[in-house]
Symmetry: C2
Amino acid sequence: MKQHLSRIRHTDLSRRIVSKEEAASWIQDGMTLGLSGFTRAGDAKAVPMALVERAKAESFQVDVYTGASLGSDIDKLMAEAGIVRKRLPFQADRTMRRKINDNDLLFVDQHLSHTAELIRNDVMNPIDYAIVEAVSITEDGTIIPSTSVGNSSIFVEKAKAVIVEINIAQPEAFEGMHDVYELAEQGEREPIPLTKVADRIGSVGIKVHPDKMKGIVLTNQPDSPSTIVPPDEETAMMAKHLISFLRKEKEAGRLPDHLAPLQSGIGSVANAVLHGLLDSEFTDLEVYSEVLQDAVFDLIDAGKVRFASGCSITLSEEKMKAVFSSIDQYKDRVVLRPQELSNHPEIIRRLGLIAINTSLEVDIYGNVNSTHVSGTNMMNGIGGSGDFARNAKLSIFVTKSIAKGGDISSIVPFVSHIDHTEHDVDVIVTEQGYADLRGLAPTERAPLIIHHCAHPMYREQLLDYYNEALHTRGGQTPHILEKAFSWHIHYEKYGTMLQQTFQYS
Amino acid sequence: MKQHLSRIRHTDLSRRIVSKEEAASWIQDGMTLGLSGFTRAGDAKAVPMALVERAKAESFQVDVYTGASLGSDIDKLMAEAGIVRKRLPFQADRTMRRKINDNDLLFVDQHLSHTAELIRNDVMNPIDYAIVEAVSITEDGTIIPSTSVGNSSIFVEKAKAVIVEINIAQPEAFEGMHDVYELAEQGEREPIPLTKVADRIGSVGIKVHPDKMKGIVLTNQPDSPSTIVPPDEETAMMAKHLISFLRKEKEAGRLPDHLAPLQSGIGSVANAVLHGLLDSEFTDLEVYSEVLQDAVFDLIDAGKVRFASGCSITLSEEKMKAVFSSIDQYKDRVVLRPQELSNHPEIIRRLGLIAINTSLEVDIYGNVNSTHVSGTNMMNGIGGSGDFARNAKLSIFVTKSIAKGGDISSIVPFVSHIDHTEHDVDVIVTEQGYADLRGLAPTERAPLIIHHCAHPMYREQLLDYYNEALHTRGGQTPHILEKAFSWHIHYEKYGTMLQQTFQYS
């Protein structure tokens, strides 16, 4: 307890400590909550758990806004307890996913840079309580976030009341690692003065008027570690192809030795691909991304990355131990910002990022589905991939060419849901190779994608579709609408997209 | 001729006048040309025409980059002559469209803010000749564009050689109306210092080293006037619904009396909707758009719009006469910038634009098709709609609810091509009403769109699809893939989307 108290340096506020149960009791049916948390990092843990407890005896529902996905099974438990009416802008929990797809709760799949603007503009329900995790509160009442900033600063700014969870399992040494820049209203806004990845433009924490701080809850619970699957043969091949592409860009004089600031999506594939840079010739790299995963810290440790900017740090158990025990040595090489800054179109376009994101499926013209299985069922959400793909200098999507042992081709005639249009997709990388689509018309793109990215077992079938479409229908983007989704339908019926008896031409 | 000469104030350059035939003779098979011109405004006219002439005796092909669509039948004549191998980033000519859809020429459908970055980054073929129209050349050799800036500044900067067409049919008084700001390379770029619509941040024309100026051609040919169809009953209803929505936003405190800077797409529908503001209570408006059409000048004349920023001026014959004869009185109220500035994500997001664009079709979840008829055939191109929709404060799409006398419903189960995903579409307006989709999940969106935007003759059929999808498939975005395109297929077969005998449920 004493250890907790030393973390609340504002005298008045140190008197507002309450139990998690008491804090949870303030929340009424129909309220909207803004919870800290971005990809399992820095999520508010105690009050949501107490809320789940309360639901055993009482019936209520709330809308839950976060940075991105939560850890500690909070999304799972809230979904099971049936207390969430609407959830946004991203989640990644299996149980919540099922509830979403069963239409037991409403999920709004938002670009991660958009949520803050919608809240600032009072478009969605006003936030009743911001509940944010912190490592400390300073003498002047500034909230020092823990492993993520996410949407916490806009939640605190706009919420009617604020509850802070001081988590002593999160090192106090995080103080000084954040850069919280507040944007004014649109139309009254100055240019964001960030021109280099390492620039610091804001304050070390989240300013809040002490009157709005309704209570402080003390906790001691680490973040859920990430569940990164180690690189495998295929992700190693994807990394190899990506690096070949970057090398070609360098040789053509389009990229310098230190490339351009890198963004990489969440997950094992993106992490593995980033890992591939460890053994490459590229050095003095910079990262301007949302989640900083193991690979980024491995690259820093290896002297490959000189600076990394993100809005959260999500690590495996082992890497978390290593990083957390020596945070001070990362402080001049890592910064955490609000997600509307990490994902801001102004910065992404200005810095000219290389954006690397994963896709569920890609079609022969380069449209990308990042979210929906068979066009209907939500996986996790678009996350920041649209923020980056739309405005980056290089928008790269990576995917294994097949899934389910070959029963699914990740390259299809027509994606069953579109999150990124062909206008926003520059390069596609699979373990088979890469297709550089920049400046190409659809009929130039299709053969490239089929020959370089599709799995050999599906190439002929794709060519059959493409050739029939080209020769019987033609047009800028040849398609046979009657057969556009036939691969998905075939999979639903027969468990495979491979159509051995079915000839297109 | 004397009149022409007074427009070339740089002594050395005035000696480089050549005939259009001579200039055209410099262009070799396989070259890439960067032509001025944006939606019929300020296009290079003489040299492309001479090139078309040359093709009668000689076989050659070139790649043609422009700002957007061209006037004076140049796209038509070039397409007919077969001299275009690849064309980007936008066109709007019937003959060229047919050639594109017949795969006689390659068309790359690009976001209008992207072309300049791709050229700056040396991603596409280098430009051999920039051919740009101007009203004059100053003492220091600065090129003063005419009715559009478009991509001319990046073409001139990156081209190996420059040909200027001095067009005396374009008033010399345009000098002083442009604001040409040059962006540095990504990563070495400062924030764009524009924070208000009326800010001037660049120079009055395009700087070029005199050594690069290969020749000057004198011309006397007005821009092709726009072919705007006057407002009809349906566009008047759309304007009314749009204004109701804006009024509601104002009443909710989300917009001030002067709204936010307006962007409006090209074409009769967008022009008519903008026209609707003439009779509204909103005043002191600002426009930050790409094309400034008749409606914008009508709104300026009526004292409704205080300032308009664009990258081209495209007017009807009558309005052109009126505006061109009194340009000086518009100079403190109108500015023309390069299209990467008018369409720049940094500015669009900072200013918080209200973006109003037209769509070909919209689906029940809010995905928008702006470009492809029946999923395959290119209409014009995405233009700037993606630049604006993606980054605006309010992304509004307008469409009539039906086309071809009711045989086509503009609201369909699944759009046959996606240019704007549901993440980027806030409000849909038809003559039936509007649907405000912000902060809504797909299953909240569908009933709204069907009830408020679809034509009554298609509502039941849409509800049948939606309800069958919801109850038999479910998911975040319920769809029946077997039937997703059945409306389009039905139209192809029977000439109507109305399926009187076909029941979904």
